[in-house]
Symmetry: C2
Subunit: 113 residues, 2 copies
Amino acid sequence: MPLAEKLATFSEHWQPRVVAQFNGHDVMVAKVQGEFVWHRHDETDDFFLVLAGRLAIELRDRTVELGPGDLFVVPRGVEHRPVAREEVHLLLIEAGGTPNTGDAATAAPRRVI
Amino acid sequence: MPLAEKLATFSEHWQPRVVAQFNGHDVMVAKVQGEFVWHRHDETDDFFLVLAGRLAIELRDRTVELGPGDLFVVPRGVEHRPVAREEVHLLLIEAGGTPNTGDAATAAPRRVI
């Protein structure tokens, strides 16, 4: 499955698309730009792999800067805020059904492509 | 974490290196070339993302061809054989401690870098 082809099918930011299932997890691609909200996931680690662009993942005590081919796992329970100064393409993996904001009330729906 | 830097630290084929932990899974990079053994994992899906090169994943009924940026998940219990005609760089994710051959007796040790 070419991830670039999946990314070419949509343009909305902060709206991950599920491209595969893996051991009860959703494997997703996303386009992001701008500042996301501070949030945490108490029940799942949060997997980020940058496919294109540069992403800052702000933690309360430091900021992790990621470029293409860089991977970072935010441990469960750790507050974080992704910030993209430009459009960034990501591969994300989370436990199935995890709200992307950490709160079901404000989360983007999970869409499968 | 730049995956390319991790890949530059070793040259052995079919010897995955653990670069991160994610929800009880090992996130690994590997260099592969040639034909691996036919095997299956009964307890875990098998996540492949090609970072460089071209990989064929032979299944009993078809072959999946993957290039850079292509992702494929082999469902648990499905026999498969990765074949790399050239050196291929991979991101792999498996449940922690999964033997890469499906058999602890023949598996490569898990090394963390």
